[in-house]
Protein backbone atom coordinates (compact mmCIF):
# COMPACT_ATOMS: atom_id res chain seq x y z
CA UNK A 1 0.00 0.00 0.00
CA UNK A 2 2.69 2.49 0.98
CA UNK A 3 4.75 1.52 -2.08
CA UNK A 4 1.73 2.29 -4.27
CA UNK A 5 1.16 5.64 -2.58
CA UNK A 6 4.80 6.69 -3.00
CA UNK A 7 4.95 5.44 -6.57
CA UNK A 8 1.74 7.29 -7.43
CA UNK A 9 3.14 10.49 -5.90
CA UNK A 10 6.04 10.11 -8.33
CA UNK A 11 3.47 9.90 -11.14
CA UNK A 12 4.33 6.33 -11.99
CA UNK A 13 1.57 4.24 -13.47
CA UNK A 14 0.74 1.74 -10.73
CA UNK A 15 -1.46 -1.27 -10.34
CA UNK A 16 -1.75 -3.35 -7.17
CA UNK A 17 -2.25 -7.05 -7.76
CA UNK A 18 -3.22 -8.86 -4.59
CA UNK A 19 -4.55 -12.17 -3.56
CA UNK A 20 -7.03 -10.33 -1.36
CA UNK A 21 -6.91 -6.86 0.10
CA UNK A 22 -5.96 -6.56 3.76
CA UNK A 23 -3.14 -8.87 4.67
CA UNK A 24 -2.06 -9.86 8.15
CA UNK A 25 -2.63 -6.42 9.65
CA UNK A 26 -6.33 -6.45 8.78
CA UNK A 27 -6.72 -9.56 10.93
CA UNK A 28 -5.28 -7.90 14.03
CA UNK A 29 -8.09 -6.84 16.33
CA UNK A 30 -5.72 -4.54 18.21
CA UNK A 31 -2.90 -2.52 16.72
CA UNK A 32 -1.26 -0.44 19.42
CA UNK A 33 2.03 0.45 17.81
CA UNK A 34 1.31 2.19 14.51
CA UNK A 35 2.26 5.83 15.11
CA UNK A 36 -0.58 8.27 14.69
CA UNK A 37 -3.19 5.54 14.47
CA UNK A 38 -5.44 5.54 17.52
CA UNK A 39 -8.30 3.44 16.29
CA UNK A 40 -6.64 0.11 17.23
CA UNK A 41 -8.59 -2.10 14.79
CA UNK A 42 -6.16 -3.40 12.15
CA UNK A 43 -8.89 -3.61 9.54
CA UNK A 44 -9.63 0.11 9.93
CA UNK A 45 -5.94 0.88 9.41
CA UNK A 46 -5.92 -1.14 6.19
CA UNK A 47 -9.21 0.36 5.02
CA UNK A 48 -7.76 3.82 5.56
CA UNK A 49 -4.77 2.83 3.42
CA UNK A 50 -7.07 1.46 0.75
CA UNK A 51 -9.05 4.73 0.64
CA UNK A 52 -5.79 6.65 0.37
CA UNK A 53 -4.62 4.40 -2.48
CA UNK A 54 -7.97 4.75 -4.26
CA UNK A 55 -7.78 8.54 -3.96
CA UNK A 56 -4.63 8.36 -6.08
CA UNK A 57 -6.67 6.51 -8.69
CA UNK A 58 -4.77 3.26 -8.19
CA UNK A 59 -6.64 0.12 -9.03
CA UNK A 60 -6.43 -2.83 -6.62
CA UNK A 61 -6.90 -6.07 -8.50
CA UNK A 62 -7.97 -8.80 -6.11
CA UNK A 63 -7.23 -11.99 -7.98
CA UNK A 64 -8.20 -14.46 -5.26
CA UNK A 65 -5.54 -17.10 -5.71
CA UNK A 66 -2.50 -14.88 -5.92
CA UNK A 67 0.33 -14.78 -8.40
CA UNK A 68 1.41 -17.97 -10.12
CA UNK A 69 4.55 -16.91 -11.92
CA UNK A 70 6.82 -14.09 -12.97
CA UNK A 71 8.73 -13.95 -16.24
CA UNK A 72 10.13 -11.32 -18.52
CA UNK A 73 10.71 -10.44 -22.14
CA UNK A 74 12.94 -7.95 -23.90
CA UNK A 75 11.50 -4.90 -25.63
CA UNK A 76 13.81 -2.31 -27.21
CA UNK A 77 16.68 -3.59 -25.11
CA UNK A 78 14.68 -3.27 -21.88
CA UNK A 79 13.26 -5.98 -19.71
CA UNK A 80 9.46 -6.05 -19.37
CA UNK A 81 8.14 -8.09 -16.48
CA UNK A 82 5.11 -10.32 -16.83
CA UNK A 83 3.12 -11.53 -13.84
CA UNK A 84 0.57 -14.29 -14.28
CA UNK A 85 -2.16 -14.91 -11.71
CA UNK A 86 -3.70 -18.27 -11.01
CA UNK A 87 -6.66 -17.53 -13.31
CA UNK A 88 -4.19 -17.15 -16.19
CA UNK A 89 -4.54 -13.36 -16.47
CA UNK A 90 -1.28 -11.49 -17.07
CA UNK A 91 0.03 -8.07 -16.05
CA UNK A 92 3.03 -6.28 -17.52
CA UNK A 93 5.30 -3.65 -16.07
CA UNK A 94 8.72 -2.07 -16.35
CA UNK A 95 9.42 -2.85 -12.73
CA UNK A 96 7.87 -4.95 -9.97
CA UNK A 97 7.68 -4.32 -6.24
CA UNK A 98 6.95 -7.54 -4.40
CA UNK A 99 5.10 -6.94 -1.14
CA UNK A 100 3.18 -10.19 -0.89
CA UNK A 101 3.70 -10.80 2.83
CA UNK A 102 3.39 -14.05 4.64
CA UNK A 103 0.76 -16.70 5.14
CA UNK A 104 0.13 -19.16 7.96
CA UNK A 105 2.26 -22.28 7.88
CA UNK A 106 0.48 -25.59 7.76
CA UNK A 107 1.16 -28.60 9.96
CA UNK A 108 1.31 -30.96 6.99
CA UNK A 109 -0.46 -33.78 8.81
CA UNK A 110 -3.34 -36.07 7.80
CA UNK A 111 -6.77 -34.52 8.24
CA UNK A 112 -5.55 -30.93 8.12
CA UNK A 113 -6.66 -30.23 4.54
CA UNK A 114 -9.73 -32.42 4.74
CA UNK A 115 -11.10 -30.60 7.79
CA UNK A 116 -10.10 -27.07 6.79
CA UNK A 117 -13.02 -24.84 7.81
CA UNK A 118 -14.61 -27.92 9.31
CA UNK A 119 -12.93 -27.38 12.62
CA UNK A 120 -9.41 -26.66 11.37
CA UNK A 121 -8.60 -22.97 11.05
CA UNK A 122 -5.62 -20.63 10.97
CA UNK A 123 -7.39 -17.51 12.13
CA UNK A 124 -8.76 -17.16 15.65
CA UNK A 125 -9.76 -13.56 14.96
CA UNK A 126 -12.06 -14.80 12.21
CA UNK A 127 -13.33 -18.04 13.63
CA UNK A 128 -13.09 -18.09 17.44
CA UNK A 129 -16.69 -16.92 17.90
CA UNK A 130 -17.90 -20.04 16.08
CA UNK A 131 -16.60 -22.27 18.83
CA UNK A 132 -18.88 -21.11 21.64
CA UNK A 133 -19.15 -23.79 24.33
CA UNK A 134 -16.90 -26.15 22.41
CA UNK A 135 -13.59 -27.81 23.27
CA UNK A 136 -10.73 -26.63 21.10
CA UNK A 137 -6.98 -27.03 20.71
CA UNK A 138 -4.46 -24.37 19.75
CA UNK A 139 -1.32 -25.75 18.15
CA UNK A 140 1.68 -23.53 18.79
CA UNK A 141 3.11 -21.76 21.81
CA UNK A 142 4.47 -18.65 20.09
CA UNK A 143 2.81 -15.26 20.38
CA UNK A 144 0.23 -15.95 17.72
CA UNK A 145 -0.72 -19.25 19.40
CA UNK A 146 -1.07 -17.57 22.77
CA UNK A 147 -3.12 -14.74 21.24
CA UNK A 148 -5.43 -17.30 19.63
CA UNK A 149 -5.83 -19.08 22.96
CA UNK A 150 -6.63 -15.78 24.64
CA UNK A 151 -9.29 -14.96 22.06
CA UNK A 152 -10.77 -18.45 22.40
CA UNK A 153 -11.16 -18.19 26.17
CA UNK A 154 -14.00 -15.75 25.51
CA UNK A 155 -16.01 -18.46 23.76
CA UNK A 156 -14.79 -22.03 24.20
CA UNK A 157 -15.48 -24.16 27.24
CA UNK A 158 -12.02 -25.71 27.12
CA UNK A 159 -8.83 -24.56 25.38
CA UNK A 160 -5.84 -26.86 25.10
CA UNK A 161 -2.59 -25.24 24.03
CA UNK A 162 -0.18 -27.73 22.50
CA UNK A 163 3.47 -26.76 22.52
CA UNK A 164 6.16 -28.76 20.74
CA UNK A 165 8.94 -28.23 23.24
CA UNK A 166 8.98 -27.98 27.02
CA UNK A 167 8.71 -24.21 27.01
CA UNK A 168 6.36 -21.93 25.08
CA UNK A 169 8.18 -19.23 23.11
CA UNK A 170 5.47 -16.59 23.40
CA UNK A 171 5.56 -13.62 25.78
CA UNK A 172 5.69 -14.62 29.45
CA UNK A 173 3.09 -12.02 30.36
CA UNK A 174 0.51 -13.67 28.08
CA UNK A 175 1.46 -17.15 29.28
CA UNK A 176 0.97 -16.10 32.89
CA UNK A 177 -2.42 -14.60 32.08
CA UNK A 178 -3.52 -17.76 30.28
CA UNK A 179 -2.39 -20.01 33.10
CA UNK A 180 -4.72 -18.15 35.44
CA UNK A 181 -7.72 -18.85 33.24
CA UNK A 182 -9.48 -22.00 34.32
CA UNK A 183 -10.48 -23.29 30.88
CA UNK A 184 -6.91 -23.21 29.57
CA UNK A 185 -4.63 -26.25 29.75
CA UNK A 186 -1.09 -26.29 28.38
CA UNK A 187 0.23 -29.58 26.99
CA UNK A 188 3.98 -29.46 26.54
CA UNK A 189 6.22 -31.66 24.36
CA UNK A 190 3.27 -32.42 22.12
CA UNK A 191 3.76 -33.28 18.48
CA UNK A 192 0.47 -33.25 16.64
CA UNK A 193 0.09 -36.30 14.40
CA UNK A 194 -3.39 -36.33 12.94
CA UNK A 195 -6.75 -34.60 12.93
CA UNK A 196 -9.78 -36.85 12.78
CA UNK A 197 -13.50 -36.50 12.44
CA UNK A 198 -16.55 -37.37 10.39
CA UNK A 199 -18.17 -34.33 8.83
CA UNK A 200 -16.33 -32.08 11.28
CA UNK A 201 -13.32 -32.43 13.53
CA UNK A 202 -13.91 -34.48 16.66
CA UNK A 203 -10.46 -35.71 17.60
CA UNK A 204 -6.79 -34.91 17.50
CA UNK A 205 -3.90 -37.33 17.95
CA UNK A 206 -0.58 -36.16 19.32
CA UNK A 207 2.62 -37.77 20.46
CA UNK A 208 3.90 -37.01 23.91
CA UNK A 209 7.56 -36.52 23.08
CA UNK A 210 8.64 -37.09 26.66
CA UNK A 211 7.10 -40.55 26.94
CA UNK A 212 6.82 -41.40 23.24
CA UNK A 213 3.18 -42.26 23.85
CA UNK A 214 0.39 -41.42 21.39
CA UNK A 215 -2.52 -39.62 22.97
CA UNK A 216 -5.97 -38.49 21.89
CA UNK A 217 -7.86 -35.33 22.61
CA UNK A 218 -11.58 -34.87 21.98
CA UNK A 219 -11.74 -31.47 20.31
CA UNK A 220 -14.11 -29.81 17.86
CA UNK A 221 -11.74 -27.11 16.79
CA UNK A 222 -8.04 -27.00 15.91
CA UNK A 223 -6.43 -23.57 15.65
CA UNK A 224 -3.07 -23.86 13.92
CA UNK A 225 -0.49 -21.18 14.82
CA UNK A 226 2.88 -22.65 13.95
CA UNK A 227 4.44 -19.68 12.25
CA UNK A 228 4.28 -17.97 8.89
CA UNK A 229 5.81 -18.63 5.51
CA UNK A 230 6.53 -15.99 2.86
CA UNK A 231 4.32 -15.77 -0.22
CA UNK A 232 7.30 -16.09 -2.52
CA UNK A 233 6.75 -19.35 -4.42
CA UNK A 234 6.29 -17.50 -7.70
CA UNK A 235 9.75 -15.93 -7.39
CA UNK A 236 11.67 -19.20 -7.13
CA UNK A 237 14.44 -19.21 -9.70
CA UNK A 238 13.79 -15.55 -10.53
CA UNK A 239 15.17 -13.82 -7.44
CA UNK A 240 17.37 -15.06 -4.67
CA UNK A 241 15.42 -16.44 -1.70
CA UNK A 242 16.96 -17.43 1.61
CA UNK A 243 16.56 -20.79 3.36
CA UNK A 244 13.14 -19.73 4.72
CA UNK A 245 11.91 -18.62 1.31
CA UNK A 246 12.24 -14.91 2.13
CA UNK A 247 13.29 -12.62 -0.69
CA UNK A 248 16.86 -11.47 -0.18
CA UNK A 249 17.07 -7.69 -0.56
CA UNK A 250 19.70 -5.01 -0.36
CA UNK A 251 18.58 -3.36 2.90
CA UNK A 252 19.45 0.11 1.59
CA UNK A 253 17.69 -0.06 -1.75
CA UNK A 254 15.17 -2.91 -1.44
CA UNK A 255 16.58 -4.28 -4.70
CA UNK A 256 16.35 -8.05 -5.15
CA UNK A 257 18.95 -10.12 -6.98
CA UNK A 258 16.96 -9.58 -10.21
CA UNK A 259 17.60 -6.08 -11.55
CA UNK A 260 14.34 -4.11 -11.78
CA UNK A 261 12.55 -6.20 -9.18
CA UNK A 262 12.21 -4.70 -5.70
CA UNK A 263 10.70 -6.19 -2.57
CA UNK A 264 9.38 -4.85 0.72
CA UNK A 265 7.89 -5.96 4.00
CA UNK A 266 7.31 -9.36 5.56
CA UNK A 267 8.07 -11.28 2.36
CA UNK A 268 11.69 -10.11 2.54
CA UNK A 269 14.62 -11.06 4.76
CA UNK A 270 14.38 -7.91 6.91
CA UNK A 271 14.65 -8.90 10.54
CA UNK A 272 11.59 -7.28 12.04
CA UNK A 273 8.15 -8.06 10.70
CA UNK A 274 5.97 -5.17 11.78
CA UNK A 275 3.24 -3.18 10.04
CA UNK A 276 5.00 0.13 10.54
CA UNK A 277 8.29 -1.31 9.26
CA UNK A 278 6.64 -2.92 6.26
CA UNK A 279 5.00 0.41 5.43
CA UNK A 280 8.36 2.17 5.61
CA UNK A 281 10.01 -0.52 3.52
CA UNK A 282 7.28 -0.13 0.89
CA UNK A 283 7.96 3.59 0.70
CA UNK A 284 11.71 2.94 0.39
CA UNK A 285 11.18 0.37 -2.34
CA UNK A 286 8.92 2.73 -4.33
CA UNK A 287 11.41 5.60 -4.17
CA UNK A 288 14.27 3.36 -5.26
CA UNK A 289 12.11 1.86 -7.98
CA UNK A 290 11.37 5.40 -9.24
CA UNK A 291 15.08 6.27 -9.30
CA UNK A 292 15.91 3.06 -11.11
CA UNK A 293 13.19 3.66 -13.72
CA UNK A 294 14.34 7.24 -14.24
CA UNK A 295 17.90 6.16 -14.93
CA UNK A 296 17.07 3.21 -17.19
Amino acid sequence: MSAAIYAARKKLSVEIIADKFGGQTSLQPEVHNYPGFLDKDGLVLMQNMRSQVKNFGIDIKEVGQGIKSISSRQENGKEIFILEDKNGDTYEGKSVIVASGKKPKKLGIPGEEEFYNKGVTYCATCDAPLFGEKTVAVVGGGNSGLDSAMQLTKYAKKVYVLVRSDIAKGDQITQDKLKEIEVVEFIMNAEVQEIKGEKFVNKMIYKDKASGEEKELDVEGVFVNVGMIPNSDFLKGFCELNQWGEVVINPKTNATSHVGVFAAGDVTDILEKQTVIAAGEGAKAALQCYKWLASN
Partner: protein
Protein backbone atom coordinates in the same frame (compact mmCIF):
# COMPACT_ATOMS: atom_id res chain seq x y z
CA UNK B 1 -33.11 -11.87 -0.61
CA UNK B 2 -29.54 -11.95 0.64
CA UNK B 3 -28.59 -13.55 3.95
CA UNK B 4 -25.13 -13.14 5.37
CA UNK B 5 -23.81 -15.18 8.31
CA UNK B 6 -21.10 -13.31 10.16
CA UNK B 7 -19.05 -12.92 13.31
CA UNK B 8 -18.23 -9.47 14.67
CA UNK B 9 -14.48 -10.02 14.27
CA UNK B 10 -14.47 -11.40 10.74
CA UNK B 11 -12.72 -9.08 8.33
CA UNK B 12 -14.17 -10.55 5.17
CA UNK B 13 -17.67 -10.30 6.65
CA UNK B 14 -17.16 -6.56 7.03
CA UNK B 15 -15.79 -6.32 3.51
CA UNK B 16 -18.77 -8.24 2.15
CA UNK B 17 -21.23 -5.97 3.96
CA UNK B 18 -19.42 -2.91 2.64
CA UNK B 19 -19.61 -4.37 -0.84
CA UNK B 20 -23.40 -4.81 -0.44
CA UNK B 21 -23.77 -1.23 0.77
CA UNK B 22 -21.71 0.13 -2.12
CA UNK B 23 -23.92 -1.72 -4.55
CA UNK B 24 -27.24 -0.99 -2.80
CA UNK B 25 -27.92 -4.62 -2.04
CA UNK B 26 -30.14 -5.09 0.99
CA UNK B 27 -29.21 -8.00 3.20
CA UNK B 28 -30.09 -9.66 6.43
CA UNK B 29 -27.25 -10.32 8.81
CA UNK B 30 -27.05 -13.26 11.21
CA UNK B 31 -24.35 -13.05 13.86
CA UNK B 32 -23.39 -16.67 14.45
CA UNK B 33 -21.30 -15.85 17.51
CA UNK B 34 -24.39 -14.90 19.49
CA UNK B 35 -27.14 -16.73 17.63
CA UNK B 36 -26.66 -20.50 18.08
CA UNK B 37 -29.63 -21.29 15.83
CA UNK B 38 -28.16 -19.25 12.98
CA UNK B 39 -24.82 -21.00 13.53
CA UNK B 40 -26.38 -24.44 13.11
CA UNK B 41 -28.31 -23.20 10.08
CA UNK B 42 -25.12 -21.86 8.49
CA UNK B 43 -23.18 -25.06 9.16
CA UNK B 44 -26.01 -27.20 7.76
CA UNK B 45 -26.39 -25.07 4.66
CA UNK B 46 -22.69 -24.72 3.84
CA UNK B 47 -21.26 -27.93 5.35
CA UNK B 48 -18.42 -25.95 6.90
CA UNK B 49 -17.65 -23.43 9.64
CA UNK B 50 -15.86 -20.56 7.91
CA UNK B 51 -17.51 -17.14 7.78
CA UNK B 52 -18.87 -15.32 5.94
CA UNK B 53 -21.45 -17.55 4.37
CA UNK B 54 -23.68 -15.68 1.99
CA UNK B 55 -26.98 -16.92 0.63
CA UNK B 56 -28.30 -15.35 -2.54
CA UNK B 57 -31.69 -16.69 -3.61
CA UNK B 58 -30.93 -20.10 -2.12
CA UNK B 59 -27.43 -20.27 -3.59
CA UNK B 60 -24.64 -20.59 -1.01
CA UNK B 61 -21.39 -18.67 -1.37
CA UNK B 62 -18.60 -19.52 1.08
CA UNK B 63 -16.22 -16.67 1.87
CA UNK B 64 -16.28 -13.20 0.33
CA UNK B 65 -16.14 -14.30 -3.29
CA UNK B 66 -16.68 -10.95 -4.98
CA UNK B 67 -16.82 -12.25 -8.53
CA UNK B 68 -19.34 -14.93 -7.68
CA UNK B 69 -21.51 -12.40 -5.84
CA UNK B 70 -21.36 -9.96 -8.76
CA UNK B 71 -22.54 -12.74 -11.02
CA UNK B 72 -25.36 -13.87 -8.72
CA UNK B 73 -26.53 -10.33 -8.02
CA UNK B 74 -26.06 -9.19 -11.60
CA UNK B 75 -23.68 -6.37 -10.65
CA UNK B 76 -21.45 -5.03 -13.40
Amino acid sequence: MVNIYTTPTCVYCQMAKEFFKENNVSYQEHDVSSDAKAREEMINKSGQMGVPVIEVEGEIVIGFDKEKLMELLDIK
